[in-house]
Structures are given as C-alpha cells and as structure tokens.
C-alpha cells in the first residue's frame, strides 16, 4: 500500500518537474510544427484568407524555378565552405596544442572571441573590411597596385565575403572541439612514433588526423546544418543580393512569408526543407548514439 502511494507521488512529482518545459515546448515548437504542415495545404496570407487548397503550394514550389535555384545556391554555398570549416579550425587546433607555442591562452582567447558575436554584427564587421569604396581590403589592394574588387556588385565576390564572415565566427568554436579531440589522443602514440623516427608532419597525418575522424564528422554535420540555414549573417552583409545571388533558403522562406504574405506557400517550402534537415539529424543521431557526444 505504502509503495503504491509512493509510486503515485513520484509520478506526480515527475510531471510537476517536466510540465513547464513540456508546455512551452508544446506551444512554441510542436504546435508551430503542426501549424506549418496545416498552413502548407492552405492559401493563408497571415491575416484573413485561409482556404484549403490541397497540394497546390507543393505543386507551385516544385514547378518554380526560383525555389530550385535557391536550394541549389544554398547547397553550393554549403559544399564550397565545408573544406574551410574543417581545415581552418583543425590547423588552429594543431597550433594551439603545440608544445612549442608560447602564450597559448592568449592565442586561444583571441581566436575564440569572434564566436561570441551575433551573426548580424559579425556580418557587419567583415562587411566593413570589404567595403567597395572605402573598405580596408580594397585600399590595400590598390596600395599594391591591384584594381579594387566589386565586393558587393559581383555575385561570386559577395558570396566570398559572406563565407569569410561565416568562417570567422565559427572557427574558434570548431577549434575547441578539435582541441578536445587532440587532447584525447594518447601521448604514448606520439612517443612511439618519434622513437620510430617519424617526423612531426608524419605524426600529424598518420596519427592525429585519422584519430580525429569522429571530431571531424561532428564538425562536418554541425557546419552543414549551420551553413544551410545561414541568414542573419547575410543580413549584415548583402541582404541577399546582388539580385538574389546570396539569398539562401531561410531568407527565401521569410521573403515569401513575411514580405509577400504567402504564409501557405512559405510553410510548404519549410516542410520540404525540413526533410533535408531531418535526414541530417538522423545521420547525426545514429553516429553519436543518441546525440550524446555533441
């Protein structure tokens, strides 16, 4: 009898502890998730009109060149940036874990500071350096006799500026993940390698790099997701331009929804894009056995 009473009491306590989170999560995540799916079958304009129109939004999206172009552009942006998202933090981590480095804390701190910035401010900061007319980079180019570059008028160059900003604010974070990975590698392996006469660069490529594969995998997944949903950074730099050459999927959804008042269409686009993110999350979930290591 007592046992049963206690079990009841614990069940009640469990729910008391969990309810605040669960209620907020339900109202502001699960409900919007359901609403998004529902909106995607309507012509909701965010105000008055909301009629069920079946699969029309999906048909429109899948026959719309702009949608494909935006998705393709986002994927190209993501894939082109991935090598840098891995190589730069890895090199920085190798540098700050080197026994030969003096002032390790200072270097780590300074490299990490950009991580603290909002994406908007990071975008603005880098944009300021790459200003077309009175930017520092163009000024220096002119100093060495090169013609100034049209950072904001040329689609490729605008993408380069965004990529620089994106790598700038993420490098310190991924560097720390790599530092953790490097510290987990047994020192004995390096000692054995050096006894066998291996050079440091050999040790890096034969020991460090292969043993860091799990970290690299995490960095790859995290940066893929973050690159695919790049938005605030672009708002500090090019606002999606010139034209729509730096408009990525999140901005496309917002433009359709909040600027064109096509909530239904935007929701349908969101549902389609979600599938992409769910696949990535599943891969991550599998690989980390429940998200445990991230």
């Amino acid at each position: 009898m007592k046992k049963r009473q206690q079990a009841f009491c614990h069940t009640r306590s469990f729910w008391m502890f969990v309810i605040p989170s669960l209620a907020l999560f339900g109202v502001f995540f699960l409900l919007p998730l359901g609403l998004s799916i529902w909106f995607s079958f309507t012509n909701y304009d965010g105000w008055k009109t909301m009629e069920f129109i079946g699969l029309k939004n999906y048909r429109d999206i899948l026959t719309n060149g702009d949608f494909y172009k935006t998705v393709w552009r986002t994927i190209v942006y993501t894939v082109c940036n991935l090598p840098f998202k891995i190589a730069i933090p890895l090199l920085l981590a190798a540098l700050v874990t080197s026994k030969s480095l003096r002032g390790t804390t200072l270097v780590r701190t300074l490299v990490y500071i950009p991580v603290l910035f909002s994406a908007l401010v990071a975008g603005i900061t880098i944009n300021w350096m790459f200003g077309q007319e009175y930017g520092l980079i163009n000024y220096l180019l002119q100093k060495i006799g090169v013609d100034p570059l049209q950072w904001s008028l040329n689609p490729v160059l605008a993408t380069v500026v965004i990529s620089v900003a994106s790598n700038w604010i993420s490098a310190g974070y991924y560097m720390l993940l790599y530092v953790g990975g490097i510290n987990n590698i047994s020192k004995e392996l390096y000692e054995a390698a050096s006894v066998d006469g291996a050079k440091k660069t050999q040790a890096f490529f034969r020991i460090t790099l292969p043993l860091l594969m799990p970290t690299t995998f995490i960095v790859l997944l995290l940066s893929t997701v973050n690159l695919l949903k790049e938005y605030a950074l672009v708002q500090g730099i090019s606002l999606g331009g010139p034209g729509s050459s730096t408009t990525y999927i999140v901005q496309y959804i917002f433009d359709q929804g909040f600027n064109q008042y096509r909530y239904g269409y935007a929701s349908a686009a969101g549902v389609i894009i979600s599938i992409l993110f769910i696949v990535i999350a599943m891969v991550q979930f599998r690989a980390t056995k429940g998200g445990g290591e991230v």
Partner: protein, 278 residues
C-alpha cells in the same frame, strides 16, 4: 647543443605563427573599433589610417541619443529573464528525466519528445511561431521573444546527463529523511548541478543577447527594440548609416566580451559538452 638551438627556433616560429593567427582573427574587431571613433569625413576618405586622425565620439553620442539605453535595457531584460527561465525549467526537467528513469517506464519517451526539437531548426518554424505569438497577443511584446525560445533541448540534455552520473542513493537518503521531492531537488540536488548551471547561464545569456530572427519579426515599435534590432535598423534599403552602426556594434559586443573574459574557464571548458543549438 644543436638540438637546443633547433628547439628554440621551433618555439620561435610556432609562436610567431600563433600570434599571427590570433591577430588575424581579432583584427576585424580592432578595425571596427578604431573606425567607430572616426568622423564621417575620415571614414570615407583616402588614405585610410588605422588610428583615427581626429578621434571623435560623436557616433556614440548619436546612438545614445537614438535611444541606446532603451535598447540595452530591452536586450538585458530578454537575456536575463530568458536565462532565468531557461535554467529553472531545464534543471527541473533534466533532473526529473534522470532521477525517475528507473521508476517510471515512460520517462525516456518524454525525453524523446524533446529530442524532436533537435530535428528541425527553429528558423524553419518561425512563420508558424510568429502566428502563435500573435494569436496570444504577444506581438510587439518582449515576452513574445522570450517564451518561444526558453526551452532548449541542449539545456535539458546537459542537466539530464549530469544527474544520470549522480548515484540515486543520494535521492533515496533524502526521501528517508522525509524531505519532499521538490525539496530534495532544490536543497540537495540543484547545488550538485552548479557546473551545468553556470555553463548554461553563460550560454543562454549569450544566445538571448544575440537573438535576431524572432525579435526582428515580433518587435515593431522602436521603443521595444533590442540592441540587435536597433543595429539592423541602421541598415536601410537606401543605404547604411555607417557611423551609427559601427558605434552600436561595438557597444553591443562589450557586455559579451566582459562576461567571456571573466568567466572564460567555464565557457571553454563547458563548451565541448554543450553543442551549439540556441
């Protein structure tokens, strides 16, 4: 002897390389900071100088007159209140998911519901979230930027992992003493989770201070703007008010940098376990 010389050379080279990397990373901020003290006549004139030739705080004066203190106050409210709620509810939830996992059969199913939150980025749901916020009458209200984001799976997860490593006997002993379940949590177990509390507090503060998308959609009156939205408002379709934007950007990063420098060991230590999701 030759070995020692070679070693010295290596230390020298690696240190130079390290300092160069650090300088390269920090330079854009230094450039932004010095630029913010230049009057427009100097911002947009060649040749460029690193140091302001004629330092001038008028840009700062301008943003203060534009209502900077109101924006900072709103940002602080968002960050402080949001963080208090996040830490409170995440600690309770993560604790319960860990402590009752053996007694109650469906605990892991409840946890799985929260894991759904990691599947889809919040950005994708913003339009529907905005609809919910409006329907609740929270449009143009700072609470409309707080409530949707306070539940973070990352926070719940951190506490759950932490409390799973604490022996259940400790809870049992509290029960034998006749303490209520909530009292055990608050008086006995919460202090044991202080390492997670500190890490989550710092990160949550930073996430909320830097929040952009939801405040941009939800806040419409200038008097309700957070500092990020105020900065954004200096970027017009016709052009950018660079003087104001440089000064406001510098002011917006000062609190975060101060917190980072004071609490650095918690940030870089707790980070590997925390993930990036805000």
């Amino acid at each position: 002897m030759e070995g020692a010389g070679k070693r010295k050379l290596e230390v020298c080279l690696v240190t130079i390389l390290g300092m160069a990397a650090a300088l390269l990373m920090i330079f854009p901020i230094i450039w932004l900071c010095f630029s913010s003290f230049k009057p427009s006549s100097e911002l947009f004139a060649y040749p460029l100088h690193l140091f302001p030739q004629d330092p001038d705080g008028s840009a700062y004066q301008g943003v203060v007159e534009d209502g900077l203190f109101t924006y900072v106050k709103n940002s602080l409210f968002l960050a402080v209140v949001g963080t208090l709620i996040t830490v409170g509810i995440s600690a309770m939830c993560g604790y319960a998911l860990a402590i009752y996992r053996k007694e109650i059969s469906y605990v892991n199913k409840v946890f799985a519901v929260f894991l759904l939150g990691t599947l889809i980025p919040g950005e994708i749901l913003t339009i529907a979230q905005f609809t919910v916020v409006s329907e609740m009458g929270l449009y143009n209200n700072i609470w409309g930027c707080i409530l949707p984001v306070v539940t973070t799976t990352t926070g719940i997860f951190m506490y759950r992992q932490h409390y799973m490593s604490i022996p259940l006997e400790l809870v049992e002993s509290g029960r034998l003493d006749g303490a209520s379940e909530f009292h055990i949590f608050r008086a006995l177990m919460l202090p044991l989770g202080s390492s997670v509390t500190i890490t989550l507090t710092i990160f949550s503060f930073m996430w909320r201070w830097n929040d952009y998308i939801l405040p941009l959609m939800v806040l419409s009156d200038q008097e309700n703007f957070t500092i990020q939205i105020a900065i954004k408002s200096y970027i017009g379709t016709m052009g950018v008010d660079w003087n104001s934007i440089l000064a406001a950007s510098i002011l917006s990063i000062i609190p975060i940098i101060v917190i980072f420098i004071v609490l650095q060991r918690y940030i870089t230590g707790g980070l590997a376990a925390s993930g990036v999701k805000g």
